[in-house]
Symmetry: C2
Subunit: 339 residues, 2 copies
């Protein structure tokens, strides 16, 4: 018998999640049926969208039920396989959830391909966040040479990729990040043309100075007050891929007055495109193209990334709670066990 440690949803949060919303369980794994694979999780990805799954508000995905294992993308090693595509020792990725071991249908797993980068990259720069950046730019943002591309959470897994891909496309990436350490990383390590601290009281005028020709693409992944600083600078025919609103996830992000007429008025007067998307819209058709295009650039170091690695599945809730307030620095990953 294999034992698994799992984190389940104990209760739904109102506002910011806290430790009591989660519960750690030890369970025995069931027997593997034909087609199943028994895996040992190596890395668990923690991502802002998981806050949405903790709520039962209508969304694009079903919520995690109370008592259910928290959902999440993982990289795992195959221990035993009753599926013809997998053998013990294979490294796979899949939505196994917040757990140390699992028995899962092999049809829900994919072999990890990282083109020589560490396997944890399959959860970040070469996984869902990296693909979110790539597909949002390719199909919605469409940066042209010389254009200005702004992105918030610029040191994070999506934002860092947005800026680097924009630069590769000949555009001028301007990042927004929280605090001097993250800002220095965005400018010096990732090579953005400019970076701004969203905690600065002069964010709006800083942004105006950093974007003398306005903003052509704003990759929206935070919402909140950053949007108010971006909106006046958006150029005619500007594009706004919306992949996240982390500032709103805990019910915040609202102003004291109705900001909708200003936003709709700008959309009208400047012929803006605001387009929400979830990367799954494009993944089936384009993920392999993304991996072939970006994977070698990650392996060679041309495209850079940063991980914030937390040790031990039992520390996932605390790390997740901290992420929602911007405590992590780089893609947040839980190291569940050694390779």
């Amino acid at each position: 018998m294999t034992e698994a440690t799992r984190i389940v949803l104990a209760s739904r949060p109102s506002g910011a999640p806290n430790a009591e919303n989660f519960r750690t369980q030890r369970v025995e794994l069931p027997d593997a049926a034909e087609g199943d694979v028994t895996v040992r999780v190596l890395y668990l990805s923690l991502d802002p969208y998981m806050r949405g799954r903790m709520s039962d508000a209508k969304s694009y995905a079903e919520p995690v039920p109370i008592g259910g294992v928290m959902e999440g993308e993982t990289v795992a090693e195959v221990l035993k396989s009753r599926h013809s595509d997998f053998a013990p020792g294979d490294i796979v990725r899949g939505r196994i959830g917040w757990c140390s071991h699992a028995v899962i249908g092999g049809d829900k797993l994919r072999l990890v391909e990282t083109h020589g980068a560490p396997v944890s990259a399959a959860l970040g720069v070469l996984g869902m966040p990296g693909f979110t950046a790539w597909s949002g730019l390719k199909f919605i943002g469409k940066p042209q040479p010389g254009e200005t591309v702004a992105v918030a959470a610029a040191s994070g897994p999506v934002g860092s990729m947005v800026g680097q891909l924009a630069k590769l496309a000949g555009a001028r990436p301007v990042g927004i990040a929280g605090g001097p350490e993250k800002c220095a990383f965005v400018k010096d390590e990732l090579g953005f043309d400019a970076v701004l601290d969203h905690r600065s009281p002069s964010l709006s005028s800083d942004l105006q100075t950093a974007c003398p020709k306005g903003i052509d693409v704003y990759f929206e992944n935070v919402g909140g007050h950053v949007w108010d600083a971006i909106l006046p600078l958006l150029n005619p025919y500007g594009r706004v891929p919306v992949c996240g609103l982390v500032a709103h996830y805990n019910g915040a992000g609202a102003g004291n007055e109705d900001r909708l007429p200003t936003t709709m008025g700008a959309i009208l007067r400047r012929s803006l495109t605001v387009r929400g998307f979830i990367q799954t819209e494009f993944a089936a058709e384009h993920f392999a193209t993304f991996l072939a295009e970006v994977g070698p650039r990650v392996a060679s170091g041309e495209v850079r990334y940063r991980e914030d690695i937390v040790e031990g599945i039992e520390n996932a809730p605390e790390a997740f709670i901290g992420m929602l307030t911007g405590k992590n620095f780089g893609k947040l990953v839980v190291k569940v066990s050694d390779l």
Copy 2:
């Protein structure tokens, strides 16, 4: 010498315009230079966007200066021509403005082509409003057979065309209009599948009943509280062409709380596309195609339209002020002189 009556902007309105914001002038026309055409205006179009031109807020177009002639699209007869493309008696359209006669560069005029419909149609169903509907649907809304297309101001020149074009595309048009008379016209004369009165206190639930499969395309030309009723019904991958926000033009349309997070959240979770546009974006390339496609259908009566004709240029301000509160019924046109 030819005398002209003109309406100029006397002062900028704060909130709803009133009669004092306009002034009527009698002026003598200047001599026509080489390339100029002297015209007698037959019809002047009154359109909601003109409210925007009365303000000096940053917009896609320059405001009308204080003392300047109010801008507007007209149909006119050529009296004298010093331009090789035009001869006396030609019927032309152009942005001549709120005036009875003018001397204008021939390069700013186009011969009117209505495929047999009355020439005033060049200001409505076969002019800018009709083309706004056609281009917004063709390039942004993209209605598919079986989809639901909702539009407000459905008895107006843009809305009535949106619904009829949606129907021709095999979609199901649902209109929103103000009052029983307009609603009856939309359902019985224009052939919409359903129509709702935006003054109804049960608009949200009426709309839900009328759209059992949700809304795939919402053609936004009003804003305000109609948007709040539409938003919850928009289906995943819904498209929202935004061509006007008439409810906001006088500074209204705001709620008591911040409605932006709800809208942005819906855009994200349902992968919505919200895209502002001005018909001029598409006109140079596609206006002739539109006219060839829709003109014969208007002339044959397959595509229907309604005009609200006001007699006399001196009555333009009052008619315009009334239009902003929905007093007109059909495309508002000022008949300036007889053909």
